[in-house]
């Protein structure tokens, strides 16, 4: 077999040579034979004639020789390709429409598939990534779904869970790098020693961290990413042992990671040891995850997720036996969940992505139906030719393969254009913010995608060929077809109802797509209309991380805040300025427990987590919070570390529905402590949206003086009469004047933050909008094509009827009523489909019912108007047809 392919390949490579050689060889044979005959006494002319007769038909011998070399299928294919190309060239308008349809539909699918593939399908870039899992604590009854894991969890589980081959902890953060005056804030990650070995990818130069480097005194070491090493160390091969200034202290480089190393969506450019103090590791800190520290683990070969889960559950049960907090945690529904790392990381965008793919696929179906209809129309106009060819002996296989070659040629060409469209689409997606999705920076347009494009084009070509081939084969009943399609004046029933069925399907699909888009758009609009609970206009926000090593105690940190806020208030255009440890809608709002003095939990009432903030300066005024009762916190409260706090109305309503919250006392944490540590409620503010605009639960929030809950990261919030962004430079300058080593990052107006927080709603809605627009265009083209063909087909009938006295309105009405019937059928199916789709995508919708009457009506209306206008043109043409002209070519 292999041999034959080799021989075939050789011949194909030099096809011309093969033909020349064959001709020469056969000619030589004839010449030799003629000579022999002449030598035996025959006259030369007679000899040549004899030789040719005895040899047989030269071209049939040549054909047999080609067949002997296995060339026939190739010749046939080339002939059919030429035939197809000739046919396609003859109809440039059809071509352009068909190519554009395929290109747009495949392009849209490729674009979305690129995202789905790189985010959902491709395994994480680590060996045997399927065995990587994450473990997180959840307290569902307290309203805390994910709380990460605590340092105590890590040390208690390390080496104790038999199903794990490795367990590691990590957290993200930022660090200020470089010397005074030229500092930069970099994204970093802190990781435990076995982090890299758990992932199965680690430093290519130097080493990983050791256990000795996990205490706060010995953690002055760093591992660089390849990019940082190249950029800041000029790819120095002797970088190990060199020093680097981190947050003002000198750290030693101990390793360099391989190029392209990336953990999930992390932007970290440097890795530091996860260091902790002994007291952080104790059992008292077991539930202090705070969603900032996370565990990953690698399952042992053969171990299952379920085994790991049950081992974790068993260990938790054992540990809880002597845990004073166990009862409360059990009431909060505490559990540690083991989940596959990849699936867990992309869980939030998975439904949206799959729906986008479904939308793109619906578009592809509409496009394919359109093309089928156009091809069917063309096949109808060639029905005589096909019938004649079949009568002359073209085999069924031949008829089928010809169609397949033609449709595949078309879709392949369209597919190549679609690749270009897809490449453009991916660029569009990144403008829409796709690279901010989890794993979004992995989105790639590569050979794998090109293969998918070609494969998709071929499959589409084959699928398109099926109805056309079926139609052509039916044409075998040659006489009947010729009669019905040309002389009788009305088209064949089968072909007609097939085309009409396709129109109905197309209208139904487009209705579903459009109303789905409408639902997404409406959800987005309703989400945007939600008041965040404060006045987001004219606010500039920025982040500063104040390192603990240079601002080691609260007085130092508060002095920094005070100086900054004072300088800011002197700035022209600033009306209020404040500091907070985390702004709402930042995407990482943590919740923590609080206990109200005197409140006894009822049976079945679980402890709750509250959004907790530390504020300084005029934070509430700067944000535009509304005051319901009492007063705001002031800079004074922070300076004096007063034991006071402000709660929001959700919190107040929960605990004191019938009384004033003012003067009440509460404790930070899950248990009441001494009175001296209690906080007095001095004010109640309006509730604000904390995690996202589409938040539905009234979780409650507590605002403490900054000194009591702050961390190394702070947000500055400035209200101004000017355009917020215009204040950015001034703010950076002010901070540098106070401390030249502190850069300000993440400068964004609050309006921008709110808009950015909706990216997961906006991008799908926008994409669906684009798909719908294309679908409407396709509907217009499809309906117009089929209807105007119907008019052409029936011109004789129309001519006869008009000659017999039919009025133009009657002719027009005939076609319009056909269009209306198709539209009605499509709409009914479409509405059913829209309802089912709406139900299925409920998770994506915000305050919108699955079947929103106005949206569906709008979708039906748009499609109705477009398809009716597309019908009007041909119907109008039919009505204005001159009977003489119509009957002329009878």
């Amino acid at each position: 077999m292999l041999k034959r392919f080799r021989s075939l390949f050789r011949v194909l490579k030099s096809r011309r040579e093969f033909e020349q050689g064959m001709t020469e060889e056969l000619r030589f044979h004839l010449a030799q034979y003629t000579d022999d005959l002449v030598r035996s006494g025959m006259p030369p002319q007679e000899a040549a004639r004899r030789a040719r007769i005895e040899f047989g038909g030269l071209s049939s011998v040549q054909e047999q020789c080609r067949e002997a070399r296995g060339l026939n299928p190739f010749d046939e294919l080339i002939r059919q390709l030429r035939h197809a190309a000739r046919l396609l060239r003859k109809t440039p308008r059809f071509n352009a429409t068909a190519l554009a349809t395929v290109a747009v539909c495949l392009g849209a699918n490729l674009t979305i598939f690129a995202v789905v593939d790189s985010i959902l399908l491709r395994p994480l870039p680590f060996p045997e990534a399927g065995r990587l899992v994450t473990v997180f604590n959840t307290y569902p009854k307290a309203g805390v779904d994910r709380d990460g894991s605590s340092v105590a969890n890590y040390y208690e589980r390390r080496g104790k869970i038999p199903a794990f081959a490795g367990l590691a902890m990590y957290s993200y953060g930022t660090a200020v790098l470089g010397d005074a005056g030229s500092t930069e804030r970099e994204q970093i990650a802190q990781v435990s020693p076995e982090f890299f070995s758990t992932l199965g990818a680690g430093p290519v130069m130097g080493r990983s961290f050791t256990d000795e480097e996990t205490s706060t005194q010995t953690d002055k070491v760093v591992i660089l990413t390849d990019a940082y090493w190249r950029q800041h160390f000029n790819a120095d091969p002797h970088v190990i042992g060199r020093q680097l200034r981190v947050d003002g202290l000198r750290d030693t480089v101990v390793g360099v990671l391989p190029p392209g190393f990336r953990f999930l969506s992390s932007e970290a450019r440097l890795y530091f040891p996860f260091s902790s103090r002994p007291e952080d590791r104790g059992s008292g800190q077991r539930h202090s995850g705070g969603n900032s520290k996370h565990l990953i683990a690698r399952l042992k070969p053969g171990a299952t997720l379920a085994q790991a889960q049950s081992q974790i559950d068993a260990q938790n049960a054992t540990l809880e036996a002597d845990d004073p907090e166990a009862k409360m945690m059990a009431d909060a529904g505490f559990r540690s969940v083991v989940a596959p790392l990849h699936a867990d990381h992309v869980r939030t965008i998975r439904p949206a992505l799959l729906w986008m793919q479904a939308g793109a696929f619906a578009l592809l179906l509409i496009g394919a139906v359109n093309l089928t209809n156009l091809l069917l129309i063309r096949a109808s106009s060639r029905v005589k030719e096909t019938a004649v060819r079949q009568a002359l002996g073209a085999s069924r296989l031949h008829v089928v393969s010809e169609v397949v070659v033609e449709t595949t040629l078309l879709t392949l060409a369209g597919g190549l254009l679609g690749l270009a469209a897809g490449a453009g689409g991916i660029r569009l997606l990144s403008v829409l913010g796709a690279d901010r999705l989890p794993l979004g920076s992995h989105i790639a347009f590569d050979a794998r995608l090109a293969c998918v494009a070609v494969l998709g084009a071929i499959v589409m070509g084959l699928a398109l060929a099926v109805p056309i081939a079926w139609f052509n084969l039916r044409g075998h009943l040659a006489s009947g077809m010729i009669q019905s399609e040309t002389r009788g004046g009305t088209p064949s029933r089968g072909a007609q109802s097939l085309r009409h069925g396709f129109i109905v399907a197309q209208i139904a699909l487009a209705t579903v797509l459009l109303s789905g888009t409408g639902l997404l758009g409406l959800s987005l609009e309703r989400a945007m209309a939600v008041s965040p609970g404060f006045r987001p206009d004219h606010i500039l926000t920025g982040q500063i991380s104040v390192p603990w090593n240079r601002y080691p105690d609260w007085p130092a940190r508060l002095a920094f805040n005070e100086r900054l806020l004072q300088d800011l208030s002197r700035q022209p255009g600033v009306s209020a300025a404040g500091v907070v440890n985390n702004v709402p809608l930042s995407g990482n709002s943590g919740k923590s427990a609080a206990t109200v003095k005197g409140h006894v939990r009822l049976p079945g009432e679980s402890p709750r987590g509250y959004y907790s903030y530390g504020v300084d300066g005029d934070y509430f005024a700067a944000m535009g919070f509304s005051l319901r009762e009492g007063r705001f916190l002031t800079a004074d409260d922070s300076l004096r570390s007063s034991q006071v706090c402000v709660v929001d109305e959700d919190f107040a309503r929960y605990y004191w529905p019938h009384a004033s919250a003012l003067g009440q006392h509460l404790f930070e944490g899950g248990e009441p402590t001494t009175d001296a540590q209690s906080f007095t409620v001095v004010g109640v503010v309006g509730a604000v949206k904390q995690a996202g605009l589409t938040d539905q639960t009234a979780q409650g929030a507590i605002y403490y003086p900054y000194a009591l809950i702050g961390n190394d990261r702070l947000f500055i919030v400035v209200r101004t009469d000017l355009r917020p962004e215009s204040l950015g430079l001034a703010l950076q300058k002010l901070v540098r004047q106070i401390d030249p080593e502190l850069p300000v990052n993440d400068l964004r107006s609050m309006d921008t933050r709110i808009a950015d927080s909706l990216v997961e709603q906006r991008s799908p809605a926008l994409l669906a909008g684009i798909f719908s627009l294309i679908a409407v265009l396709l509907i217009a083209v499809g309906t117009y094509g089929v209807l105007s063909y119907a008019v052409t087909q029936r011109r004789r009938e129309i001519g006869v009827r008009m000659a017999l006295g039919a009025r133009p309105e009657q002719i027009r009405g005939q076609f319009l009523s056909l269009a209306l019937r198709l539209l009605m059928a499509g709409t009914v199916l479409g509405i059913i489909g829209a309802w089912l789709t709406g139900r299925a995508m409920r998770t994506l919708l915000f305050q919108v019912p699955p079947l929103h009457v106005a949206t569906t009506a709008a979708a039906v209306g748009i499609i109705g108007v477009v398809s009716l206008v597309a019908c009007l043109l041909p119907a109008h043409r039919a009505a204005r047809m001159s009977p003489v002209e119509a009957l002329a070519d009878l």
Partner: protein, 113 residues
């Protein structure tokens, strides 16, 4: 010319292999050689010779090479490959077995049954 026999299907290839196994030959030469070695008993239809040659070449049982004929014209010469030689041997053995069996069968007299 004596009496000629019809070729059985498949035997042409065998004859071609045999002919070129003796000495490299061009197509016309193969024809003449077969007639010669069969004592002019076999008539080869000229048109079917070349497809058979091409088929054998496709199966890599023979290879072709351009050369110069006795009367100084460019001609394509065929010769046996190793695989071709092995095939010829097998086919010859198979043929002989068949021929012997056929002869025995056809020569059976009534009293031998």
């Amino acid at each position: 010319m004596g009496k000629t026999a019809e070729l059985l299907p498949g035997t042409l290839e065998m004859l071609i292999l045999k002919a070129v196994s003796l000495k490299p030959l061009h197509g016309y030469g193969v024809l003449q050689r077969i007639q010669q070695i069969s004592g002019d008993a076999l008539e080869i239809p000229q048109g079917s010779l070349y497809p058979a040659l091409y088929r054998l070449e496709h199966q890599e049982l023979i290879v072709a090479e351009w050369g110069v004929s006795a009367n100084n014209r460019r001609a394509k010469y065929y010769k046996l490959t190793v695989a071709g030689r092995r095939r010829l041997r097998e086919e010859t053995a198979g043929w002989n077995r068949l021929a012997a069996a056929m002869a025995t069968a056809l020569n059976t007299a009534p009293e031998e049954v």
